[in-house]
Point group: C2
Chain length 391, copies 2
């Protein structure tokens, strides 16, 4: 075997679709001594993580915990616990993550109605109404923040349609949580999941979820066992929330240290202030990009503040520019996913990465690289336009 | 919400069933700056982790990666990828983890033959032979190191029986890997999984797995989709091993820093030396315990070096003694699981925790606490007997 040297990753400027920059306090907390997962001190930490998660989800749901795996496992956990073979589900598909929801529902043996719209656009309430009118529906699922397209899905009307149809309402908040308004209780969301490496600015590794009482009743009324052992909430909830803390698996101790610290930082800033910060930096970036001729690609009026999908200018070499951003400016942005591959860049302004110096640095770097690619632009125009938002 | 203060976990002496003590180098590596999961530097780290895992598993299997979740997800990953409804599987059940294998196989819709033996005893090859003779068998699964009982399962004969029967051979090495001999290729193991928080001495959060070519052929020949999206190796293997690194989920970046460093430490020590160290500390502990009248509970001749299950002496209050070990001596040991609850203690000597000063400290602490509980013993006899092994 070749010798493998000391770990020495470069300190990047993370402006892709996640992970985002992690605060040094979070890295420090994560490197505290590992203790046992049934240690009374760790039980205390589990309780605190749940309290903090209830705050960021704006919920009083008892079952509000981090799944011991990444965001997509949170999606799977929400679905496999309430779905059974033959159930009819309605999924909004306007990007990669709606496709993923449909895929999982199919693996649960469900009858899936996909509401497919052009990538970058939102799902319209009328489409959901039509789908639930057609057949008795167990669950309606949509993506609040489509990380693949930058679309920001309104939830109020769809929630009401799902509720009136007697269906559970599931929402993907992987990218929106802690960066845009999410109100699980006020918006009658029954199943919600998120990730840690987006606007929470914690390394990836856990997936916060929350189940409403209606979701729990559905779980308790199942005819069949949950198809995943690892994600079976009838057992996981005893491990996380019961007095006994019955052993299920071993929680990722140090990742829980990390999420606790990341959530403490969110709580110190306050959700409303954090949402406003994300909005302001988004506006500055959008103004700057527009000034150098780069357009956002998601539907107008429904653009995410933390994930800015932009059209790659004609004739510009996608891989070359992203490579130069990384090697010359140390900036990571994301390429397109699925239908967006080669057509869009995804610029993240998430958590710690949502700040004016990142916005201005990226605009400067893009101006330099795009001019070299032959794009006609006025040097300095992007930074000037962004600065106006900040001043 | 109550204010939640700075994280400040006590530095414990971890002698339970895992997690074990984590080396400061691993904690330091884990707190390196988070980078993107598709960053060329992280791709390099993924390759190095795979190389190091092939070394500790003693395999050349291409698909040898850490699953982005804890050990039990590794078990589930091994099973859901090769099993389909109606398959007959044979599972050795001599503790909690054999039960868990059976449970997962049932959730895959399989016809499960459980070979049930008394907890603490090993599965005999004849029992496996009989079970595979009865019906065509897709998979034979056993637990190499039963963490709930301390039994050390021999694998050679059972591997041959499985191979001759045309069945895949699956082995749980969660607790044995890096602490006792494991040779995936020499022993013809088709599916193997482990955890990070045992003899690898890394925090929990990942589950290393390895699939043989036969296992991969079975996967590629499936009639149905893998029931778990998150654990579907047809996609996960592209993310980890293909040139393209197609996005599947976001790997837990900093946990991969941690496992890389933990595996570097294993490689520096050398597997054979590490196995010998675990054996020696086990012998010292066993001699010391015997001298104060505490007996190991697993079948003689088949006792694990890293997980010592012992009978709680008559009249001794389980919870009280374990509580005092933690509060007065800062030592964590494990209580019994399942059938062992209230009857056994589980003393881990895993990875960094397998060392003479932990053995001697625990023996001293136990002597003090058991004497207070009215157990008749000669003070100092345990430490003296253990010291003889070390001298």
């Amino acid at each position: 075997m070749n010798p493998i040297g000391e770990l020495n990753p470069t300190q990047r400027i993370l402006m892709g679709p996640g992970p985002s920059d992690v605060h040094p306090r979070v890295l420090r907390a994560m490197s505290a001594p590992c203790i046992g997962h049934l240690d009374p001190e760790f039980i205390g930490i589990m309780n605190e993580v749940q309290q903090l998660l209830r705050y960021v989800f704006q919920t009083s749901n008892k079952l509000t915990i981090p799944i011991s795996a990444t965001g997509s496992a949170g999606m799977e956990a929400c679905m496999v616990n309430v779905l059974e073979p033959g159930d009819h589900v309605v999924i909004g598909v306007n990007g990669v993550f709606g496709m993923r929801m449909s895929d999982i529902a199919e693996r649960c043996g469900c009858d899936v109605t996909k509401i497919e719209v052009e990538w970058g656009r939102i799902i319209e309430p009328e489409q959901v109404q039509e789908a639930v009118n057609a057949k008795a529906t167990k669950l309606v699922g949509v993506v609040h923040a489509e990380t693949s397209t930058g679309a920001h899905q309104p939830l109020g009307d769809i929630s009401k349609i799902a509720r009136d149809a007697g269906a559970l309402f599931m929402v993907d908040t992987v990218t929106s949580l802690c960066g845009a308004e999410v109100r699980v209780d006020d918006w009658d969301i029954d199943l919600v999941y998120s990730g840690t490496q987006k606007c929470m600015s914690c390394p990836p590794g856990l997936s916060p979820i929350s189940f409403s009482d209606r979701a729990l009743e559905t779980l308790r009324g199942r005819k069949s066992k949950v198809q995943s052992w690892y994600l079976d909430m009838t057992m996981v909830e005893k491990y996380w929330t019961d007095g006994d803390r019955a052993y299920h698996h071993t929680a990722p101790i140090n990742m829980n240290y990390a999420i606790r610290e990341a959530l403490r930082i969110v709580h110190e800033e306050g959700l409303e202030s954090r949402w406003a910060r994300h909005q302001k930096n988004h506006e500055a970036l959008a103004a700057g990009l527009s000034a150098i001729g780069i357009e956002l690609s998601a539907q107008e009026g429904h653009r995410l503040p933390m994930l800015n999908a932009v059209k790659i200018p004609d004739g510009v070499d996608d891989a070359k520019v992203r490579g130069a951003l990384l090697s010359e400016f140390n900036i990571e942005i994301g390429g397109g996913l699925g239908a967006g591959k080669g057509k869009v860049w995804r610029i993240g302004l998430m958590g710690e990465s949502s700040c004016s110096h990142h916005v201005l640095h990226l605009l400067t770097a893009l101006e330099t690289l795009l001019a070299a690619e032959g794009v006609s632009l006025t040097k300095g125009a992007g930074v000037a336009a962004a600065s106006e938002i900040y001043s």
